[in-house]
Amino acid sequence: MTLETHVRVERPDLTVDVALSVDPGEVVAVMGPNGAGKSTLLAGIAGVGPLTRGFVRLGGTSLADVEGHTDLPAHERKIGIVFQQHRLFPHLSVLGNVAFGLRARGVSRSEAQVAATRWLERVGVADRAHVRPDQLSGGEAQRVALARTLVVEPEALLLDEPFAAADPSARSSLRSVLSEVLAESPRPTVVVTQDLVDAASLAARVVIVERGRVTHDSSLADIAMHPRTRWAAELVGVNLLRGQGHADVIDLADGGRIVAVEAPAGRCFVAIHPTAVALYPERPDGTPRNVWPLRIEALEPLGSRVRVALGGEIELVAEVTPAAITALGLREGRQVWAAVKATEITTYPA
Amino acid sequence: SQPEDRKLTVFAAASLVDAMDDLEATFESSHPGVDLVISTAGSQQLAAQIRDGAPADVFVSADLRQLDAVGDQLAGEPRVVATNQLVIAVAPGNPSAIGGLSDLAARDLVLVLPAPDVPAGAYARRALLSAGVEVTPDDLTPDVRGALSKVALGEADAAIVYRTDVAARADEVDAIPIDAEVAVEYHGAALERSPHPELAGELLDFLTDPETGGAILADHGFSSP
């Protein structure tokens, strides 16, 4: 069952226009800035939001088609969605919430409760089964919402930041649960997430939506190599510069120039991985052909490394070991020399 | 059904309600096997119900207009079954020292009259006119008992009402008789639809018989025709 869709929603301030095709068992991570239209996209697919133009097809069946005047109501689409704001039923217990979908399908109360309990155990909130949603913590509520959708075994899954409130440990176990579920019965799945680890571990394919449009649609590795927007570059933690290439030199749009091994002629992107940026207290004498005196704007730990934000002639982020921070005496406000070897620079047409 | 099990439904004007309770008991004891059912409401409401086929055998109305409104459904001419008298109701002991209609013209007197649209109001107006008294009422109540009730509660100093109304609440109000002669009549008639026309006739006879029904009506302040 493939999910094929083209969602176009016209709002006064924003037009969302996204085409997406997701194979059964495939997980697509949708990322993008706040207000880009990710939730709008999911709502359009599930049939609970507006659709100005476009279509939704699941396994070849048309669920909605504005031009063809098809518009199956949400309850007939068999598309499960976990809403960003959870939307738990306040008048039902946690168990009642999770059993809801099965009960609505005519499953007996006891059977539904057994299944619901099993799912609450899987997501780790079985001990809260008998309280009302307003007595749940944020993370607990999110897990209940996930269980409520998974229990009905929908034919396609749309998850809107399903782990945003989960604690780091829960987050990784929920990811495992989701992977298991998808392994058990492959179905097209779209996960909106702000978390690179979620995207990397769940999805082979990442779609980045910005201002309602798809700007990237490929693997995370590819995006990390060739980001095409500032937001995507920041996401994958790569320095993205824009310029005009001539042979091996790129004249940057914001001033300054960079030397690469080779550069496309004309407008192009320059990507520099932060680990490729070496920092020196004094001007280095060695091979690097790109050297700038920059100022340390901020220091941020990331895993076992530290990210160093640099400003000045150009803006760069470097990634170094904590040992280097101490050895070089790096701190905010200090002046350092940043060097990047020409061989470490990726260039590609804009 | 056996003749003993006859049920006779009487639609009676609301002002007859107390008298009807006593009449029912007496009539039933003198007519074994007869169940008298008394339904009381405003004459206008009763007429509307009769027009709509309500299961009434006899209709006793305080307002001839309402009897006329169902004239096509009556069996025989309406008969006067009782008469009533207008009186001035005042607080016990008559603190405002009202002697008759002419005293009602006083400015500082709180006077309540029945609205001219209801029979009592029409009678009262006629009485005042014939006595040549001009009054400025503080209220024109759509039903007589409302007027009486205001005197009983001390809200009004005087009201023109039926004598029978005062009789029912003798401990709360006094009645000042009115000299002007105005005939207030209750008419009764059997209805065509009645399955017991002869029994209906017996009831009307009973009501107009000064020895039986008439005596009871008299106990409640009515006069016999």
């Binding site: 609970v48 309850h75 306040p90 | 409401a41």
Partner: protein, 261 residues
């Protein structure tokens, strides 16, 4: 719940409200001939009237909920262009003087009414002057309360929750029963309570449409009205009985409703 102090102006006005409602009650209680209460309440006629009042008002609320609830739903959710006319219709029994309401019911459903005549010809059944007539008259005046309360209640229901129910596979009817109505329950309860109280106190439409046959259609308010003619003390006793019964019934059901939430 912490930090839920009642603001002072609210308290002051609430006290004024208590005085406004409480003084008449107090005055009534002071005038009530309690020594005659037992005798009056024991009278078979009173028990008949109370029974008829209770049965009729409960059935009337059932009818009002059954017909008024859906009307409220359509008012809140139905086609926008229908709303104006529908709202006028729903307000009808509320603003029509009850006696006129009774007359209108007679004109429509009476033996010779535009629908009543058809029904009578076809089935031989006539509604006025029967318990069914009482129920109908009371349902007529009670219906707006249910409809308007349901409308207000539904407007407050978060559509997001209904959407969530839909994505879980619940068709409209299931959604309504399992999500929308439970969420609108407090408003619905208030509406039904008002409707019941109104039906219980109904007088003008009932006496006009259904009559006042003792033991058949004579309800408590009618009995009170008739007593008021000659024996106000008895009328006060009956009124207070009516009040006590309604407080009892609403108290018990109210508790049930709240506990169930």
């Amino acid at each position: 719940m912490r930090s839920r102090h009642t603001p002072l102006p609210v308290t002051a006005l609430a006290v004024a409200g208590v005085v406004f409602l409480g003084l008449p009650l107090l005055a009534l209680l002071l005038r009530t001939p309690w020594d005659r209460a037992a005798e009056l309440l024991g009278a078979p006629a009173v028990r008949d009237a109370l029974r008829i009042s209770l049965i009729a008002s409960i059935l009337a609320v059932a009818v009002a909920v059954l017909l008024g609830g859906p009307l409220g739903y359509v008012l809140a959710r139905g086609p926008r262009r229908l709303r104006g006319a529908l709202r006028a219709l729903v307000l009808l029994p509320l603003v029509l003087p009850p006696v006129v309401g009774g007359v209108a019911l007679l004109l429509a459903f009476g033996r010779r009414g535009i629908a009543g005549a058809v029904i009578a010809d076809a089935t031989g059944v006539t509604l006025p002057f029967s318990l069914a007539g009482v129920v109908m008259a009371e349902a007529f005046v009670a219906l707006p309360f249910v409809a308007l309360a349901v409308e207000a209640g539904l407007r407050r229901v978060d559509p997001g929750l209904e959407q969530a129910a839909a994505t879980l596979g619940a068709p409209p009817w299931t959604r309504l029963r399992r999500v929308t109505l439970p969420l609108a329950a407090p408003a619905l309860g208030a509406g039904a309570a008002l409707a019941w109280a109104r039906a219980l106190g109904e007088f003008g439409a009932t006496i006009t449409f259904a009559g006042s046959l003792p033991g058949v259609t004579e309800t408590m308010p009618v009995a009170v009205y008739l007593e008021l003619q000659g024996d106000p003390g008895a009328a006060y006793v009956l009124s207070i009985l009516l009040l006590a019964v309604s407080v009892l019934v609403l108290g018990v059901t109210g508790l049930r409703v709240r506990a169930g939430r």
